[in-house]
C-alpha cells in the first residue's frame, strides 16, 4: 500500500475524521436494517443486508453503480414501494419498531425519516422561504415561530447568509448547490430523526460539495445521517461508519461494514480493499 499515495491519504483523512465525537444530542435510538432483501419483479437486486445505524452517526454507503445502494436507502423510508414491481423482505426498525409492520402509518414514518435526492428538487411554485417551511404545510403541522424556524433551518443548511435578503425569490433562481442546500433545509424543518441522502453532491461543484459536507457534519449532532456516495474522499471525510456494497453478477450485497477509518485503512475483505484503493469500480 505504501507505493500508492491515494489510499494512505484516504486512510489519514478517515483517521482525522474519527477523532470527532458523534451524537451528543441525538434523538431516538437510530435505525436498524434486518436482513433486508429487495426485488424488482423477478430480479433480485439486494440480498440480506443487515446494518445498524446508531443515533447521531453518519454512515456512508459506497460501492459501484448498480450494486443496490440507492435501492437499499429507499427501503429505509418506504419509498421503494412506489415502484409497481417492487418487493422486499426483512425488517427496518426505527426505535425498535418495524416500519413495515401492518398498521404503521407510512406518512408518519417519512416524517421521521427524511430524504434528500440526487437532483435538487425545490418546489417550483414556492419561494425560498415557503420551500423551507413546505414540509410543515404539507404535513399540516402546527408551528408558532415560523420565521425563527426558517432561519434556523437555513443556517444549519449553510444557506442563510446567501438568501436572507431574498427569501421571497423563487427556489429556481438559486444555483444548483444552493438549491440542494435549500432541499436540505426543507428536510430539516420537520425535524426528522434520520436523514437519508442519495448522492446529494453528485451534480454539484466542489465548493458547494464542501458546504454540504460541513452541513452533514453539523447535522449529525442532532440526527442520524445515511448517505450514498460515489466519492470515496467524501465518505472518508464525513462518515463515522462505512458500508461497502457490491453486486458482481449476484444480487447486490453488503460486503463489509465498520468504522470508516478501518474500512479505508485496514479492510478485511480483498474486494473492499480493491475498491477503496481504486483498483476497480
Amino acid at each position: 500500500m505504501t507505493e500508492n499515495v491515494k489510499p494512505s491519504s484516504l486512510a489519514s483523512v478517515a483517521a482525522a475524521n474519527a477523532n470527532r465525537s458523534p451524537g451528543k444530542h441525538a434523538l431516538g435510538t437510530g435505525l436498524e436494517a434486518r436482513s433486508v432483501h429487495a426485488w424488482f419483479g423477478k430480479n433480485h437486486v439486494l440480498a440480506d443486508v443487515s446494518l445498524d445505524f446508531a443515533a447521531g452517526t453518519v454512515t456512508a454507503l459506497i460501492g459501484p453503480s448498480g450494486c443496490g445502494k440507492s435501492t437499499f436507502i429507499r427501503t429505509l423510508n418506504r419509498m421503494h414501494e412506489f415502484i409497481p414491481t417492487a418487493a422486499m423482505a426483512g425488517e427496518v426498525l426505527l426505535d425498535g419498531r418495524d416500519i413495515y409492520a401492518s398498521g404503521v402509518d407510512v406518512t408518519k414514518i417519512r416524517l421521521k425519516i427524511g430524504m434528500v435526492f440526487q437532483k435538487p428538487n425545490p418546489f417550483p411554485s414556492m419561494t425560498i422561504g415557503e420551500n423551507v417551511l413546505s414540509g410543515l404545510k404539507l404535513a399540516q403541522l402546527k408551528q408558532s415561530n415560523k420565521e425563527e424556524l426558517m432561519e434556523e433551518c437555513l443556517v444549519r443548511a449553510g444557506l442563510w447568509n446567501e438568501v436572507k435578503d431574498r427569501l421571497d425569490a423563487h427556489g429556481g433562481s438559486l444555483s444548483g448547490g444552493q438549491q440542494q442546500r435549500l432541499c436540505i433545509a426543507r428536510s430539516l424543518a420537520v425535524n426528522p430523526q434520520v436523514l437519508l441522502m442519495d448522492e446529494p453532491c453528485s451534480a454539484l461543484d466542489p465548493g458547494s460539495t464542501l458546504r454540504i459536507e460541513e452541513t452533514i457534519r453539523e447535522l449529525s449532532e442532532t440526527m442520524t445521517v445515511i448517505i450514498v456516495t460515489h466519492n470515496m474522499q467524501q465518505a472518508a471525510r464525513i462518515s463515522d461508519y462505512t458500508a461497502f456494497f457490491l453486486a458482481d453478477g449476484h444480487p447486490g450485497m453488503m460486503i463489509e461494514s465498520g468504522p470508516t477509518s478501518e474500512i479505508f485503512s485496514n479492510p478485511k475483505d480483498k474486494r473492499t480493499e480493491n475498491y477503496v484503493t481504486g483498483r476497480f469500480g
Binding site: 436482513s35 432483501h37 426485488w39 433480485h44 440480498a47 440480506d48 418506504r78 414501494e81 417492487a86 418487493a87 422486499m88 423482505a89 426483512g90 413495515y100 409492520a101 401492518s102 398498521g103 402509518d105 407510512v106 406518512t107 404535513a139 399540516q140 449476484h250 450485497m253 453488503m254 460486503i255 463489509e256 475483505d269
Partner: protein, 349 residues
C-alpha cells in the same frame, strides 16, 4: 459477508394490506351496500343516478371513517378526497358506458352477414333488415379517411416541426391560426369545398372533395397534438444530436421525430377520431351514393355517417335498426383503426 448459498426469503409486498387488516374494509363494503339500499328505499334517492349518488355518499363516509379510525384526521381527509375524486371519474365514465351499451344492444339487431357484403343500390332503408347493407358506406369512409390522412398528417407534422424545431418567422401567427382553425364548425369546411371547387364549375360530387373537407378538419388536430408531443422532447436530446456534428435536418429526422414517434401516432389517431364520424362536411361534397364506388374522383360516394343520417331521418322501424347497426359498425371500425395504429407505433420501438 453472509453465505450466498443460504436459501433466501420470498419476495413480499409488506405495504399491501394483509387479509386480517382487510376485515374492517369488507365490513365497510357491506355497510355501503346496506346504506345505499336504505337510501334508495326510504328516501328521495330513486333511479340510477339516485343509486349512484347514494353509493358515493356511503362510500365516502365509510372510507373516511375507516381511515380516520385507524390513522387519524389527516388520513380521514385523504380518504374522503380520494373517494370523491374516484366517484367523479366514474361519473364521467357513465355517459361513455351508457352510449356504448345502447349502441351494442340496438345495433346488433340490424346486423347480418349481408350487411357487410351488399350495398343499398337495390334496396331502400325501409326494406326488411335482411336486404341490402352498408358495404358502399364502409368502403367510402375508408377511402376518404385514408385520403384525408395522407393529406393532413404530412402537413400537420410539418407544421408542428416548423413551430417547434425551425421556429421560423411567423411561428406565433401560424400557431394562432392553427388554433383558430380547430374551432371551425365542420359544416363550414364542407361549404368551403363546395363553394371553392364544386359550385358553378360543372364538377360533380365525389369522394375526393369529401376527403378534402375532412382534411381541413383533421389538420389542426394533428398539428396541435404533434406540436405538444415534439415540445415534450428534452432540449438536451436535440443538443446531443447537434453536438455530434449533425445538421438540423438529420437531428430532427433521426433523433427528435423517432423519439416522439408514439406521440405522433397518437396525433394521427386523434385526427382520425375527429373526422371519422363527421357528417356535415360530406353533405355538400360527396353526394352520399347508395352504390359501391371504389373511385374517389368519379361519382358520388357513400359514407357511414351519411348512411346513418339517411336511415335515421326516414323514421321507420327498419331504417332505425339500420342506423343503429351502422353506428355500431362505425364505432367498431374506429376502434380497429385505433388499435392497429397503436400496435404499429409499439412494434418498431
Amino acid at each position: 459477508m453472509s453465505t450466498a448459498t443460504l436459501s433466501y426469503p420470498k419476495p413480499q409486498k409488506p405495504w399491501r394490506p394483509k387479509q386480517r387488516d382487510l376485515i374492517p374494509t369488507y365490513l365497510g363494503i357491506l355497510v355501503v351496500f346496506l346504506g345505499t339500499w336504505a337510501l334508495v328505499e326510504f328516501t328521495g334517492f330513486a333511479g340510477k343516478l339516485g343509486a349512484f349518488a347514494s353509493a358515493v355518499i356511503c362510500t365516502t363516509l365509510v372510507s373516511t371513517f375507516l381511515a380516520g379510525r385507524s390513522r387519524g384526521k389527516q388520513a380521514a381527509k385523504n380518504a374522503a378526497v380520494a373517494s370523491i375524486i374516484t366517484s367523479l371519474a366514474l361519473l364521467a365514465m357513465f355517459p361513455v358506458i351508457s352510449i356504448l351499451g345502447t349502441v351494442l344492444v340496438r345495433g346488433t339487431k340490424g346486423l347480418y352477414v349481408g350487411f357487410f357484403t351488399t350495398d343499398m343500390g337495390l334496396a331502400s332503408v325501409n326494406d326488411p333488415l335482411n336486404v341490402g347493407g352498408i358495404l358502399h358506406a364502409i368502403i367510402g369512409t375508408f377511402i376518404m379517411i385514408i385520403i384525408a390522412t395522407l393529406i393532413s398528417v404530412p402537413l400537420g407534422i410539418s407544421t408542428a416541426i416548423y413551430l417547434t424545431e425551425i421556429r421560423g418567422p411567423g411561428s406565433r401567427l401560424i400557431r394562432f391560426l392553427v388554433q383558430a382553425m380547430s374551432g371551425v364548425p365542420s359544416i363550414v369546411a364542407g361549404l368551403f369545398i363546395y363553394s371553392a371547387i364544386i359550385s358553378g364549375s360543372g364538377r360533380g360530387f365525389n369522394g375526393l372533395w369529401g376527403a378534402l373537407a375532412l382534411a381541413i378538419l383533421m389538420l389542426p388536430t394533428v398539428a396541435r397534438t404533434a406540436e405538444e408531443v415534439l415540445l415534450l422532447i428534452a432540449e438536451d436530446l436535440r443538443e446531443a444530436g447537434l453536438a455530434l456534428g449533425a445538421t438540423q435536418w438529420r437531428t430532427v429526422a433521426m433523433v427528435v421525430v423517432p423519439a416522439a414517434k408514439s406521440g405522433l401516432i397518437t396525433a394521427m389517431i386523434l385526427g382520425i377520431a375527429r373526422i371519422a364520424g363527421e357528417t356535415a362536411p360530406l353533405l355538400f361534397t360527396t353526394g352520399g351514393g347508395d352504390e359501391t364506388n371504389l373511385n374517389p374522383v368519379d361519382g358520388v360516394m357513400g359514407s357511414i355517417p351519411f348512411a346513418i343520417w339517411k336511415a335515421l331521418i326516414s323514421g321507420s322501424a327498419e331504417s332505425n335498426a339500420r342506423a343503429w347497426a351502422s353506428i355500431l359498425v362505425l364505432l367498431a371500425l374506429v376502434m380497429i383503426l385505433f388499435f392497429s395504429a397503436r400496435r404499429l407505433g409499439k412494434a418498431r420501438r
